[in-house]
Symmetry: C2
Subunit: 402 residues, 2 copies
């Protein structure tokens, strides 16, 4: 007798996603850069089974990044080069990449300096590594621009407080709240002056736009395959200079006290192998597509600016964050739509519902006063349909449009 | 101009796997339990895109395990119940599950006791958590049977040495070297007596055979979706009693020193969300199949015993590890095939090549004296074809068969 009754298992049969790319225009702020390329769609089917990458695992070294067939080893090198770094590994998530950097560079109680717009996972990665944090402030409403020069002040502050430098500095290249793009080179320069390792979290930048770690002065780059590299989740990227790579990818030194077993080929912060299946293969299969698409970044930003311009025609509606947009992730504020929601029978849900009725999803249900979207990868005509939908809804709700 | 020249990207196009299930009988010791169910194959296509599970992420709590659509929240509960535990989470890998347990139960320098047949990733997980280890010995050749009673001695040893109990005890339910199945209840009882948390690593057991954590006295169960749950990599399972769950899934307490930001819904050892895409959906889609298949475990073991019996007909060939087999992962020793390899023009590769010529893969190329296989999930007639192939090869190489 199975432990779980059969009828309770019915909900797990024929699992369907609601918002497929072919049926909807999906503006979800975190999803656009992770839509698979056609090549990745073929690869995920081919490598769907469990340990699908491990048919040709080299017996002596037995490490994912050394597998030649499929070309994982070569990919790791090309990935590093593409990011302007010396060495790269695919890990399970960008947050894991950050955790590895924190835990391998710091000791419990050490400080790491991060920007106050960092994703929650940067904070929890520091917490799990048992590090303390200091935040670099931003300038608040409406631009929320980070005070990049303050990285120097914070490094000084840590030195005064602890008598030593922070274990690392982290900058979120593009933040998830406003989609502000930061000039990483400013922070790179400060870190170089102080000799503090500089981690650039490129979760929203690398894979959609050109990121050259060397040029920016980054010692470590973290990124997210499912966020920006047309890959399935979970996939993270951890790239580093040679010097930093030696620290992050240090080999296991543990020895069995009875057996004397050793595992000296294993990179222990990675726990050995990481993504030994389908998502890694989508990342690799999409790589040629990604190398090509980063060149089209200016057009992508242009599409976003167009949509912002159209939305700002609606009364009481403006883009929040640094202007003009330099990234496709966008935060809007709309006193107009908010006012409508106050008297609409569907409350704040009207906006989501009206958009969905027009085949547009990804704006968080219930939000009107502040909402985010991302146009990345949408063809211009779809962006125009989105603009038109918003303008139509505004008109129906008696909002003025200039 | 793209950074990576186009012709170098050619190797990433049309990635193909060599050994698909429909073309080969694959005996790879780590791969059998991770072959997808047909339901999972459909799910991986449906949820292939990046953050495919996040269309309906609840905005206030924003946690993967709380998503109702697809039914992730319900699955976590059913998964816990299926394992006889109170609470479960899907993490990126079994090794990550072990690391989380180690790091949340221990402080740097604390001891964890593990079996000397544990996978390397158990050792590196302890290393990353900065714990020291003590190994429980096994009895050596030919059975390599673990001395389960020695867990008590090791706990005593730690207490004498440090004045306190070890942070945790870990037992590998079925080891990867010999496929020995351990009586976890023995260790569960010892741990209960001493009040030490008992982690059962069920990477090779849960998902193919019935594992009831409560009955075995486990406080924590770790398992691997791509190893034993018909799921894509990477997927790990971390299940616990309510009491232990509170420790493992502790919520974030970090506070931004400038922004006062908090993330009190996030389970910080998981770094928040874990497998937010395709592999999780394969695990869920395969769950009804898994609930059903564990009931067929006796037939699976029977198939393995049959194959062992047939192989042992070949001169100088015997199964290593505990006899008779209680698990489908099997370690063979063959002085016969080894002797052939000494004079064969293809050296030790003849066995692999002769098998492959017959449509059988998964035996490590080059090995003859010791090799492993796993018959899990193969229909009886394919197991019979494997037996026949080995016997044919033996005959061709002039080995006697009884």
């Amino acid at each position: 007798m199975p432990k779980i009754p059969k009828d309770r298992l019915e909900i797990y049969r024929e699992l369907k996603r609601d918002f497929s790319e072919d049926k909807f225009i999906n503006l979800h702020p975190i999803q656009r850069g992770g839509v698979l390329s056609p090549e990745a769609r073929r690869a995920i089917i081919e490598f769907a089974d469990g340990y699908s990458t491990c048919d040709w695992c080299p017996p002596k070294t037995a490490r994912l990044d050394m597998i030649q067939r499929p070309p994982i080893a070569q990919f790791m090198q090309d990935l590093a080069e593409f990011l302007g770094m010396d060495v790269a590994r695919v890990v399970t998530r960008c947050r894991e990449a950050q955790f590895i950097a924190f835990t391998m560079l710091g000791n419990p109680g050490d400080y790491v300096i991060l920007d106050s717009l960092a994703h929650y996972s940067t904070y929890t990665a520091a917490e799990l590594a048992r590090l303390r944090i200091k935040e670099v402030p931003h300038g608040g409403y409406p631009e929320f621009r980070l005070k990049l020069d303050a990285y120097a002040d914070k490094i000084e502050e840590v030195r005064r407080e602890t008598g030593k430098l922070p274990a690392a500095v982290l900058l979120t290249h593009v933040d998830y709240l406003y989609g502000n793009l930061n000039d990483a080179a400013v922070v790179g320069k400060i870190c170089k002056e102080y000799g503090v390792p500089f981690i650039l979290n490129a979760a929203y930048s690398a894979g959609v736009m050109n990121v050259d770690g060397k040029k920016l002065g980054a010692d470590i780059i973290t990124s997210s395959g499912h966020k920006s590299w047309a890959a399935s989740a979970p996939t993270g990227i951890l790239a580093a200079t040679e010097e930093m790579g030696e620290k992050l990818f240090a080999r296991s030194r543990i020895v069995g006290d009875w057996s004397q077993r050793k595992f000296s080929f294993k990179e222990y912060a990675l726990l050995g192998c990481t993504v030994m299946g389908a998502p890694l293969m989508t990342l690799i299969a999409s790589f040629p597509h990604v190398v090509e698409r980063v060149e089209r970044w200016p057009q992508e930003v242009e599409n976003t600016r167009y949509l912002v311009e159209q939305l700002e025609r609606i009364e009481g509606t403006r883009q929040i964050g640094v202007r003009p947009k330099e990234h496709t992730l966008t935060h809007m504020e709309s006193d107009g739509f908010y006012r409508v929601s106050q008297t609409h029978k569907r409350k704040g849900y009207f906006l989501y519902e009206e958009l969905r009725r027009r085949g547009i999803v990804g704006i968080q249900p219930g939000l009107t006063r502040h909402f985010k979207f991302n146009t990345y990868g949408l063809p211009r005509e779809k962006v125009e349909r989105v603009a038109q939908a918003f303008l139509e809804i505004a008109e129906e709700q008696k909002l003025k449009a200039s």
